[in-house]
């Protein structure tokens, strides 16, 4: 494999990062070159025994290089920040792949319920979102070919977005030190063309959709007893809750995203929907991260969300 992996960049965002990187590198080489050259030239020309005319450097330089440096740095900040803000602007309809990190492996669930270990298959030219959480310590999912990385935290959901352009097999690494076998917590990112990905998905044996598994859990855990349509208990109706704005009893308005749903299941008291009593028991310790992924997938399916993941599930 080419040791200069940074030429294997597989998304437009990665190319943009490279551009900033190369520009900064060029700038740095120029500045370092000038500083080294001046040190050298001055050391030779103004060596103690060299009879050369000497005068003081004019003070005016200070008034030039101070603002010059300031505005140069300001410009780099602006450039990098603008790029970063652009990267945040991700497409709404994405293929959601769930990732659960634990010491020392990556557990991956495709939208159609296919499970992988230390491997992520994803289609190119499709917005992909990794929905990540950890079972133990802080990990960090690092995909160097895409120039992206995000810490994966216990009891919290973090995301990574990408739209890859080039099929291939790339590194998947853990970048946050997570204990003994940190350096062995590595794997592969397999990027495929859309038809290949669809074929691969289908070939992965009989699998049930995540949402279907979640629905089963929803019943077996007793959620449906209160939140179901026929329940007599006064509990919020969850149909279409995903992505909606929810008014809470303490006056806050939050969007019901994965993190919110997750918190509501594990720490029900932390966000009470306006008009309801805080009577839901906590499912912390009962619902593991794997089950959480399924439950959330089910709740999302109730929202009638048309995303690529349903297309992926279509047989």
């Amino acid at each position: 494999m080419n040791p200069f992996v940074y030429f294997s960049r597989v998304s437009n965002e990665a190319i943009a990062v490279d551009h900033i990187f190369f520009a900064l590198t060029a700038l740095s080489i120029v500045i370092v070159g000038v500083v080294f050259l001046l040190l050298l030239v001055f050391s030779v020309r103004f060596r103690a025994d060299n009879p050369v005319h000497r005068r003081k450097p004019p003070r005016i330089f200070e008034y030039i290089w101070t603002p010059a440096t300031f505005f140069l740095f300001l410009f780099i900040f602006w450039w990098a920040a603008a790029n970063q803000l652009g990267a945040l602007d991700h497409p709404k309809d994405s293929l959601d792949i769930h990732v659960v990190a634990k010491q020392w492996m990556w557990k991956v669930e495709q939208p159609n319920g296919v499970r992988e270990i230390d491997e992520i298959h994803a289609p190119i030219e499709t917005p992909v979102r990794l929905v990540m959480t950890s079972q133990d310590v802080i990990h960090s999912l690092f995909l160097p070919a895409l120039r992206i990385k995000q810490d994966v935290l216990p009891d919290r959901i973090t995301y990574l977005w990408f739209t890859a352009q080039k099929p291939g097999i790339y590194h998947l690494l853990c970048a946050e030190f997570c204990g003994t076998e940190h350096s062995r917590m590595t794997g592969r990112l397999v990027l495929m063309t859309q038809p290949d990905y669809a074929r691969w998905s289908r070939s992965q044996g009989p699998s049930r959709g995540l949402a279907a598994q979640g629905e089963k859990l929803f019943r077996s855990l007793g959620c449906s007893g209160c939140h179901g349509p026929n329940s007599s208990v006064h509990a919020p109706d969850l149909a279409g809750v995903y992505g909606r704005e929810v008014h809470l009893s303490d006056g806050r308005v939050v969007t019901a995203d994965e993190a919110y749903l997750r918190d509501s299941i594990l720490k029900p008291g932390s966000a009470i929907v306006a008009g309801y009593k805080p009577e839901m028991p906590s499912f912390a310790g009962t619902v593991g991260e794997d089950d959480m992924v399924k439950l959330i997938a089910y709740l999302k399916s109730l929202a009638g969300h048309t995303t690529i993941n349903q297309q992926g599930e279509r047989r």
């Binding site: 103004f46 000497r54 003081k56 740095f73 990098a80 970063q84 009891d155 590595t186 720490k267």
Partner: protein, 539 residues
């Protein structure tokens, strides 16, 4: 150890030096003389420098092979953690302030001693107690959390002696605080008549700025370590997410100290470089006022940028941009310092003695370290290179290329003053150039390796990175030789070096106006200062 060195010291012609005040062990261990305290510190941190160096030598040796050769994962992790903890808290943070700062700062302002001599020796004892805890942690099996102690790894999952190590760092922190308070009080209240603020040498300014960072940042580290101990030892949830805790809170607290700590390491080196450059270019430092403002603004603004260590941690995007912006701001004064140093050389009468070579490698390496800091302050690039070898290379350029080069510049510049003997300059110059070469070979490849995607703290790694690692390890061997070299010729000089006299470099600072080594009282009379520092052009 101390006695062994004493035996070899010159029987000075002067009636009295701080070295021949007394020869008993207790005359050293119960001393209140800032110069003797400095020597005690110097011996302790030299010991730790070589322990930390030995640890990383093993690590670099291991990394020659992508699959490891001799160490287990556990051992590898413990070694780099040990390297980090020892180098940061038991070498770099105390390095220049407690040795050269302690020895020279009072002399440079024309004082007899620091403001609180007993507090000064006490701070060394506190340091030693902290060191003992750390050595215990080492012997008891080591720690495998990385020097950053991130939760919940450190509190709930790691097996090593986290509590002992945290206790060691906690205690050593109070030594930093005591030193900082002492130095600030000294600079404010012990200056000789006529030594007003605009006449302070830049080294004194740098020690002053460093002390401010020490006393205001270190307590926060102490508290975050205390919280770690409470969670790990007493089982009280503070950062544990299962109880609603937030591991990012620890990172905020930790970096509130640990980013300014970088300035604790590098500011004194900047001071040293200013002194050395002026002396060997026979010229006043260009833009004294700008240099002072830069030092002080780095010290203050340095407190506002810690969040750039957390761009991928799950911190909010808004905070990322705020911290990114502030990080660019803090780079401005550093850049100005580099320009001013370069301009200082212009029109000088330059001799390239060993201290000067070290000072110039400081400028070069610090420039590279500083510029790569701009990469890391840019959020999109940092997202890619954080926690990779790019970051490792960057902070080693600052802390080793910068702070350690500064330390060696100081060592060679003030060695004649401290010991009264000259070292062989040619050997020292070879040492300086070998250091520079070894450093570049060790750390340059790590930039490429990091951008190519090699994460830090990896015991086994993808084979494609082997070439870089081999080069880096070769560089480490050169660097190890370069760091061992002074140990020999400096020790040699204690007995065989030619006597230095008061002022071998013909320098202007007040410390050069007394005998070498200086007497206990530093000066035989009360000095009165009547000129700005660096009055080289008129001598």
């Amino acid at each position: 150890m101390t006695d062994a060195i004493l035996d070899r010291l010159p029987q000075a012609k002067q009636p009295q030096t701080y070295l021949n005040e007394g020869y008993t062990l207790s005359s050293w261990l119960l001393t209140t003389d800032h110069k003797r305290v400095a020597i005690l510190y110097a011996l302790s941190i030299t010991f730790f420098f070589f322990i930390g160096g030995a640890a990383i030598s093993l690590v670099r040796l291991e990394l020659i092979s992508p699959n490891g050769m001799m160490l287990t994962d556990e051992q590898y992790n413990r070694l780099f953690t040990l390297h980090g903890i020892i180098m940061v808290w038991f070498f770099l943070v105390p390095s220049i302030p407690t040795t050269f700062g302690n020895f020279l700062m009072p002399m440079m302002i024309g004082a007899k001693d620091v403001a609180f001599p007993r507090l000064n020796i006490m701070s060394w004892y506190i340091f030693v107690i902290g060191a003992l805890f750390t050595i215990y942690a080492l012997i008891a099996g080591g720690v495998d959390t990385g020097w950053t102690f991130y939760t919940p790894l450190s509190t709930l999952y790691a097996n090593g002696s986290v509590i002992a190590a945290a206790a060691g760092v906690f205690v050593a922190g109070f030594s930093s605080i005591a030193t900082g308070i002492n130095f600030i009080a000294t600079v404010h209240l012990q200056r000789a008549p006529g030594m007003h603020w605009k006449r302070l040498p830049l080294f004194v300014w740098s020690i002053y700025a460093t002390s401010i960072v020490m006393i205001l940042a270190t307590p926060v580290l102490a508290m975050s370590l205390l919280m770690i101990v409470a969670e790990r030892w007493l089982g009280m949830p503070i950062f544990n997410p299962a109880n609603g805790g937030d591991p990012l809170l620890f990172q905020h607290l930790f970096w509130f100290y640990s980013h300014p700590a970088v300035y604790i390491m590098v500011l004194p080196a900047m001071g040293v470089v200013s002194e050395v450059l002026a002396c060997f270019a026979r010229k006043a430092v260009f833009g004294y006022t700008a240099m002072v403002i830069s030092l002080m603004s780095i010290a203050v603004v340095g407190f506002l940028v810690w969040g750039h260590h957390m761009f991928v941690s799950g911190q909010s995007q808004f905070a990322n941009l705020v911290f990114s912006f502030l990080s660019f701001i803090v780079a401005v004064p550093s850049a100005i310092k580099v320009f001013n140093w370069t301009a200082t050389l212009y029109g000088g009468r330059i001799t390239l003695k060993a201290p000067m070579l070290y000072a110039m490698s400081f400028i070069g390496l610090f420039t590279i370290g500083g510029l790569t800091g701009l990469f890391l302050a840019s959020v999109p690039i940092d997202i890619h290179v954080t926690d990779t070898y790019f970051v490792v290379a960057h902070f080693h350029f600052i802390m080793v290329g910068g702070a350690v080069s500064g330390f060696f510049a100081a060592l060679h510049f003030w060695w004649p003053k401290i010991t009264g003997r000259m070292y062989p300059d040619n050997w020292a110059r070879i040492g300086a150039m070998t250091t520079f070469l070894g450093f570049i070979v060790t750390f340059m490849p790590q930039f490429f390796m990091g951008y190519a995607g090699m994460p830090r703290r990896y015991h086994v790694y993808p084979e494609q990175f082997q070439a870089y690692n081999v080069v880096s390890s070769v560089g480490a061997v050169i660097l190890a030789v370069a760091y061992l070299l002074p140990l020999f010729y400096l020790t040699w000089s204690l007995r065989y070096g030619k006597p230095a006299g008061r002022n071998p470099w013909d320098a202007t600072g007040l410390e050069w106006q007394t005998t070498s080594p200086p007497p206990k009282e530093n000066f035989d009379r009360q000095l009165v200062v009547s000129a700005a520092p660096y009055d080289y052009e008129n001598t």
